[in-house]
């Protein structure tokens, strides 16, 4: 208000000064030049103060010109029409000049505002690019808080936990911003009654789980659209910084995971090596002994079982560690079964029969995992059979059912679920030769390859395990 009054006062003072000057120097200046001099305060007042002071200067100037300079001097009487015209001229100049000046001033203000905005944008982006993402994000929030009032980042977790200081309207506004990517809250068109303004951190096309919240200005003013736009641009920069943080975190986590996986592999490999080296010596020597005395064959079988247990332990560690990689290819079941059964050392009383039709379609499986599954199933059947184990296969729809039957005691209905658990043995069973891991590995590896394994009764009286393998694509079913 004071600056407005001052510009009126300035206009009047300027008119008074020109009146004094022209009155004193009229004989030298002449009437026409004096009249022109009265334009000066009008131009000055209207360009600096706008229409009001400009018109004030024009009317005061016309009055002073009439009073001090026109004949009869020192009266307000107007004798001729041209005197009136000069008063109107002064007013018109005042209006036009003030309009021009106002427009220029607005342009200048706009340009200043734009320069300031791009300066801020540059300042924030150089700040955010300068160091580790976590550190600079905090600095970026501080930067925003200094200029636009308290600024925070909210993610869905914080919202769900009911972050302190936010009303339910604020929380709905924040949720809206997260879901739709629009600005909401104070100063915007959506939920304008909220105390905070919520600004998305990513362009509209991307869904983001975090949002920036800016507190309502302390002076009670409402944020202008231009300022909101500027804030939006700055928040996009903050969003990029958040993206950098999540990428870095992801990379770090992956590195840690890879490193621990590598360590575990190295450890398991050296464990296997350390275990198998003495076992090689034991079984090698037993084999030599068995040539002379048949009793050594039992010890040799036991040593081989130890090796299978080691393989099971390693398999269990791979399932447990989640490092089981599956590389499926087309496999001929004749190959898979032969690799398992050929050269297998069987107890004297057990006979292993195979019935795999050579024209069965190929299946899709990881050859190494399938080999381990078959070895464990055969081992399990051989240990429980009385005299015979039958390995057979047939096609059914888009699958091949591989079945392993024995004539042993079978698996009671109640135990069939539990038998694939680790270290489970059938209640009251006196067979304790297995590791307790074999069937758990069968299940674990079958799961990894997407195959089902089930137990039913065998017509021979014992158990019947059925492995369901998918027929390879492009094969006649």
């Amino acid at each position: 208000m004071t600056s407005r009054a001052a510009s009126y006062l300035q206009a009047l003072v300027a008119v008074a000064a020109i009146a004094w000057l022209t009155t004193a120097w009229l004989p030298v200046l002449g009437l026409a030049s004096s009249a022109l001099l009265f334009l000066l305060p009008v131009l000055l007042a209207s360009s600096r103060g706008g229409v009001g002071p400009g018109l004030t200067a024009a009317l005061a100037g016309a009055a002073a010109y009439n009073y001090f300079l026109l004949e009869p001097r020192f009266t307000f009487r107007v004798h001729q029409l041209d005197n009136l015209v000069s008063a109107i001229m002064l007013c018109a100049v005042a209006v036009v000049t003030s309009r021009l000046a106002t427009r220029l001033m607005a342009r200048e203000a706009e340009a200043n505002e734009r320069a300031r905005a791009s300066e801020e944008f540059a300042a924030l982006s150089s700040l955010l690019a300068s160091g580790s993402a976590e550190q600079v994000l905090a600095q970026g929030l501080e930067f925003m808080s200094d200029r636009y009032g308290d600024t925070r980042l909210l993610d869905q977790g914080k919202l769900a936990a009911g972050e302190a200081g936010f009303s339910s309207l604020d929380i709905s506004a924040a949720a809206w911003t997260i879901h739709n990517g629009d600005m909401t809250g104070h100063g915007t068109e959506t939920m304008a009654a909220a105390d905070w303004t919520f600004v998305p951190l990513a362009p509209r096309s991307r869904s983001e789980s975090a949002v920036a919240a800016l507190a309502r200005p302390r002076d009670g003013s409402v944020r202008a659209p231009a300022q909101l736009n500027q804030i939006r641009q700055l928040c996009l920069l903050l969003g990029q910084c958040c993206d950098r943080i999540s990428l870095e975190t992801e990379r770090r986590e992956r590195e840690i995971l890879e490193e621990s996986d590598r360590l575990r592999r190295t450890f398991l490999a050296s464990l296997a090596h350390d275990f198998r080296t003495p076992l090689t010596v034991i079984s090698g020597r037993l084999e030599l002994l068995a040539r002379q005395s048949p009793e050594a064959k039992d010890a040799l079988l036991a040593a081989q079982r130890l090796d299978r247990m080691m393989a099971d332990l390693l398999g269990a560690a791979r399932i447990e560690g989640g490092s089981l990689s599956v590389a499926c290819e087309n496999i001929d079941l004749v190959d898979a079964v032969s690799a398992t059964c050929d050269g297998l050392l069987l107890p004297a009383a057990i006979h292993l029969r195979r019935s795999i039709p050579p024209e069965l379609p190929f299946v899709t499986a990881d050859p190494v995992l399938l080999h381990h599954i078959l070895a464990n199933l055969v081992d399990n059947a051989v240990r429980h059979a009385r005299s015979e184990v039958l390995l057979s296969a047939r096609a059914q729809g888009s699958h091949i059912l591989l079945s392993l039957e024995d004539d042993g005691p079978g698996v009671p209905q109640a135990e069939r679920e539990r038998i694939f658990d680790r270290f489970s043995r059938i209640e009251g069973s006196d067979r304790t030769e297995g590791s307790g891991l074999g069937l758990a590995i069968v299940k674990g590896f079958a799961d990894a390859m997407g195959m089902a394994v089930t137990i039913t009764d065998s017509r021979r009286g014992g158990a019947r395990f059925i492995l369901t393998l998918p027929i390879a694509p492009g094969q006649p079913a």
Binding site: A269, A272, H273, T277, T280, V281, G284, A303, D332, P358
Partner: protein
Amino acid sequence: MSRILCVDDEPAILRLLAVILARDGHEAVAAADGRAALQALRAGGIGAVLLDLGLPDRDGLELIAAIRAIAPVPVIVVSARADVQEKVAALDLGAADYVTKPFDGDELLARVRAALRGGAVAPASPELLAHGPIRMDVSRHRAEIDGRFVALTPKEFALLRILVEAGGRILTHGALLEAVWGKAHREDVEYLRVVIRALRLKVEDDPSQPRLIRNEPGIGYRLA
């Protein structure tokens, strides 16, 4: 018969290998690490190498290349590591065969015999090949099993010929595919499976329990 260089850092294994090799009349030459192995090899007179991959002084895979650079002797990997990728890598690097610890003595001797045969000078007539019951006349594109003529397609003949030439050594899927179909088909294992199955129907007594063409899961094929 031959001098076999045994490379292993475990003395008990070296002694065991010496006893097993002696059954076939071979003489074992022991080396506890890679440096000693290369030294023994340079001294000459070695017919084949049994190599453990877990040596204290250098990487076993690297040593295969170093051995092959000194003398063209067959290298049989004897390793406690059951990792299929490592076996395939060793075979691709030029190892003749591999045996996994704990090994069967007879199997080890069979591998050594096959490896020594592969390293022997070419037979008088390279056109006539034989392995077990299989006889092949390459120039006339004829194959016989136990004196019985079998009609083979060109692919089946090419595959059987490579297996017979290897004389019981393992050949990786990749090596077989490259030799019969060309480098571009190294990964197309199903091609191989189809022809192996067709071949078995013609050469095996019981194709559902093959005795001649044996498979090693994830690695390759060999003749028994």
